[in-house]
Amino acid sequence: MKFHVSVVVAIGTGLLTLVAYFVPLAPLQAMRAALLQIGAILATVALLLGAGNLLSVHARKIRDGKPGHLYSIFLVISMLSVFIMVTVFGPQSPYSVWIVTQVQQPLEVALTGLLSGVLLIAGVRVMFRRPHWSTYLFFLAAVIVLLGTAPLPFVAIPFLQGFRNWLAQVPAVGGGRGLLLGIALGATATGLRVLLGLDQPYQR
């Protein structure tokens, strides 16, 4: 376990923020608030850095003439134009909103539609690839929820909706809670490893 300035800063900051959650002392609360503000600012800067990284990746793709560099040209042009427009007019100007609602939203909705088709085909494929009882149980649950959520033509089957509600609120919630408990333990252990300096994603 190497100790470095970054380790000390990370551990100290994490412990301070954690302790401030439990100890209602004014100075601690103030320090925690300050740290949280710093974190929020860093997140904004990271967003800008991410945009810069995206630009550099596609710029290299264009420069090297790799397959698909034509799409990279469109990406770079659109990215820069939207950036300029939003910077000039503001994020809530009609122009910015128009770009989001008329360009980005349809694209993402189309992708979501593509996602639904992919999921359907994957669901069929998994039954051929893994003909196991758990797969057929998976299929059965999907069918019941679909039938219970979507409207049925010409006829309404009341017990189906009730069964779907029970399935979604009892077994699914129970299983989901179990998953979430395990995930919470794992997330807590991961965070504790960082707090204790046993895991250093920032320095190796």
């Binding site: 990284n53 397959p67 992708l111």
Partner: protein, 248 residues
């Protein structure tokens, strides 16, 4: 009630921390034996196969950030990246790591830098091995869909926070090779069950570091989680019984 919850949270945290320290330092010489996880075995095999065949691996770190609850999954992905990068740094085509957050991208680049330095291959380090594929969940999915065919990827590892759009990533990856996937969102886990070759269900994602032998602390975490899981089960059963009986 909030005070009790706070105390309980503190007790659980301290207990977990103590167990992790115990297993890390006092059982340092013993590496525990874990049950077979076909997904992580396939991950290790794919790493070796890609190095030998001179193809590329793609590690999808997801669209999470380092500021939310999904940061834990991101950390798991970065830990796995450290091992994958070390193994793949000697390859003709080092592995790629994609994400949707700037901070995560910076961390992945740092992991690459350390891995290449560890392998005495600093001259081959390319910072763009850690890159952003797209901003936002679907933007990331759209950008990642092209990574597999464009970069000659033969295995895709999805180790990070993602939503149901992970189906697009997994489908694109499955056309080129194996897909090993794990995430935190239960909906995404269901999606991965249908689309990935080797899905990681539940907290199996957090065992990745231990199976890849990142360090002893990862194995200690898994052991501590096992202990705490039984504690939670016992507490839940006891409270349910007490509640049913009417005491609570």
């Amino acid at each position: 009630m909030a005070a009790i919850e706070g105390v309980l949270a503190l007790v659980v945290g301290l207990l977990l921390a103590g167990l992790i320290l115990f297993f890390t330092f006092l059982r340092r010489g013993q590496w525990p034996t874990f049950r077979r996880l076909p997904a992580l075995e396939a991950l290790s095999a794919d790493i070796g196969r890609s190095v030998e065949s001179g193809t590329r691996l793609h590690l999808s770190l997801g669209n999470g950030s380092m500021y939310g609850p999904e940061a834990s999954a991101t950390l798991v992905g970065l830990a796995a990246l450290s091992q994958i990068a070390k193994a793949g740094s000697v390859s003709d085509k080092p592995p790629l790591a994609t994400s949707a957050d700037g901070a995560v991208t910076l961390l992945s680049q740092d992991v690459y830098r350390v891995a290449f330095r560890h392998q005495r291959a600093e001259d081959r380090y390319d910072p763009l091995l850690g890159r952003i594929a797209g901003l936002g969940p679907l933007g990331y999915a759209a950008g990642t869909m092209h990574t597999a065919p464009d970069e000659d990827v033969t295995a895709t590892f999805i180790l990070g926070p993602q939503g149901r759009e992970v189906a697009l990533v997994a489908e694109a990856g499955s056309r080129r090779g194996d897909v090993v996937g794990g995430t935190l969102d239960p909906v995404a886990q269901a999606v991965l069950y249908a689309t990935a070759d080797h899905p990681l269900i539940g907290e199996e994602l957090f065992a990745t570091g231990a199976y890849l032998k990142v360090n002893r602390a990862h194995a200690a975490s898994v052991q501590a989680q096992d202990v705490m899981r039984w504690v939670v089960i016992g507490a839940a059963v006891a409270l349910a019984v007490l509640g049913t009986v009417g005491i609570l």
